[in-house]
């Protein structure tokens, strides 16, 4: 087995241990989601004009956002960060593996395991009691699944890039915060992207961050045709490739100028 798969598996098993934290997080997210759904319902009641998504589609979108919130690349790898602070990151450099893919494998696990722990119960409860609809047909469900895999790869590439910027320990945290906020906003987790002003839609369709949430969710509710799934997957993968390239470049520079903190 390749070392990258081993790292992936080990991280997933470690992360699945934190069940109490997952439960506390669940309560928070139900609360959060409930507030958001009520606000959107009030907005929909305030207008009679037809909207790009109807209320039930929006409610599904909002609950999917909550269910898959941890797919967003906004949580840094705490272990790697501690390593960069205390200098043991030097051990990572010694390993006979490619540093980027090692960290990328960690990032995939970091996104996948917690997201799974949250998503399953949240999805079930939201579906049974809180107005989350099933996908309209099997095609949409399949497209959602495929697109979700693309979202995972993309999100991991973005978060690996964030981890790498932490090598510049002083200013890294600022960049990480800016990037994670931008991701949340442009992925549609504040406001579903179809509800943004009409003039901004062409721009939103190009930018990378929609691939993390908006694309799979719109495929799920049937707002994007299931037949377009491969095109959308292409969009996700192209951006994943760009983030990987940028990440590798910055990493290569970072390693050459790395000063191990603390020794």
């Amino acid at each position: 087995m390749s070392p990258y798969w081993a790292v992936l598996g080990a991280r997933i098993r470690t992360l699945l241990q934190y069940r109490a934290a997952a439960l506390a997080g669940l309560v928070t997210q139900f609360f959060w989601g409930g507030i958001r759904v009520m606000v959107f319902m009030a907005f929909y009641r305030s207008t009679t004009a037809p909207q790009p998504m109807d209320l039930s589609e929006t409610i599904s979108y909002l609950w999917l956002t909550q269910a898959l919130l941890l797919l967003l690349p906004f949580r840094l790898d705490a272990d790697l960060r501690a390593m960069m602070r205390d200098g043991s990151v030097a051990y990572e450099l010694v390993r006979p593996t490619d540093l980027y893919w090692l960290w990328y494998a960690r990032a995939v696990a970091q996104r996948f395991a917690p997201a799974l722990l949250r998503a399953v119960p949240l999805y079930l409860v939201a579906w049974l009691f809180l107005g989350l609809q099933l996908p309209p047909n099997l095609g949409a469900a399949a497209a959602f699944g495929i697109s979700l895999a693309g979202a995972l790869l993309l999100s991991a590439a973005i978060s690996t890039l964030m981890t790498i910027t932490m090598m510049w320990t002083i200013s890294g945290e600022g960049i990480w915060r800016l990037l994670s906020i931008l991701t949340m906003f442009l992925s549609g987790s504040f406001v579903p992207l179809p509800l943004f002003p009409d003039w901004s839609q062409p721009l939103l369709a190009v930018q990378p961050f929609r691939g993390v949430m908006d694309t799979p969710f719109r495929l799920y509710i049937g707002h994007l045709p299931a037949a377009g799934v491969l095109l959308n997957l292409g969009h996700q993968l192209v951006w994943t490739g760009i983030f990987v390239l940028v990440g590798r470049l910055i990493l290569a520079r970072g390693v050459t100028r790395l000063v191990v903190q603390g020794g």
Partner: protein, 267 residues
């Protein structure tokens, strides 16, 4: 009392000097927080752009709510953040040291850390509030301005009370309870929109259990001269911010009660 304030001021200057050692980092984080809040407000703008209004509330009216609650929260976070960092003190037994000193423990915990990066939220809330004040077309009488200040102070007290309560739980569980985030951060989210938007259970919770609405929604109605669909009177709306202060006093009482039951973990 004066002595206590002097000591607190001393704590503040130490904390500020500490944070100023990492000036670039401080500036970056403040900018990031400002930017964060900016995008959050932009999201509200997007919704109003799409839907026109929220019940009978316009964007500047909601912006007033948003500005007040965020300023209040930033003040509370800046000052009472020490309570948020409290659980390690209990877990490691360091709280024993505070108990030995001849000053109130609440004061010492508050002095643990004064977070300057909260300035980002404060400035952004202030910017939104000023914009709202100009865009609203309300005549700013002395009464209205005083009510607005009282609302912010009441709100800051309420959030500070929540931080105290969260820390108090550590006396029993040693862990800080994450569920409190729904009331602190979640409370800010909730209070950015008029209370009438929410279902009855939520409204009751945020009026009678955690009196959040009394330091946001009710006084805002009086400032905006709006009729309350939930049927509160003007007098109630003007009195409402006091409940924030009362809430803080109650929380400090509970803190003292919890403190007496404190048993060191011994480590």
């Amino acid at each position: 009392m004066v002595d206590g304030l002097r000591l607190y001021w001393h704590y503040v200057t130490i904390s500020v000097r500490g944070q100023m050692q990492y000036r670039a980092s401080f500036i970056m984080l403040t900018v990031a927080l400002f930017f964060n809040m900016g995008l959050e407000f932009l999201s509200i703008w997007i919704l109003f752009d799409r839907f026109g209004s929220l019940q009978d509330w316009t964007l500047p009216e909601v912006a007033l709510l948003y500005g007040m609650v965020n300023i209040a929260f930033a003040l509370a976070e800046g000052v009472a953040r020490g309570f948020d960092e409290f659980s390690p003190l209990v877990r490691t037994g360091q709280f024993d040291r505070l108990l030995l000193r001849p000053r109130s423990t609440a004061l010492q915990v508050v002095g643990l850390e004064v977070q300057l990066i909260r300035l980002g939220r404060l400035l952004q809330g202030l910017a939104v509030l000023l914009w709202a004040a100009a865009a609203l077309g309300v005549t700013w009488t002395v009464g209205r301005i005083l009510l607005m200040l009282a609302t912010v102070v009441g709100g800051a007290c309420l959030f500070a009370g929540l931080f105290v309560l969260q820390a108090t739980m550590c006396f029993w569980s040693t862990e800080s309870l994450e569920v409190f985030n729904t009331m602190t951060y979640g409370g800010v989210q909730t209070a950015q929109y008029p209370l009438s938007v929410y279902r009855a259970e939520f409204r009751r919770f945020f009026t009678y259990v955690i009196p959040l609405a009394t330091v946001t929604y009710y006084p805002a109605l009086a400032i905006l001269d709006k009729v309350d669909p939930l049927g509160s009177t003007r007098l109630m709306q003007y009195m409402a911010p006091t409940f924030g202060v009362i809430f803080l006093l109650v929380c400090l009482r509970i803190w003292r009660f919890g403190e007496r039951r404190y048993r060191s973990t011994g480590s």
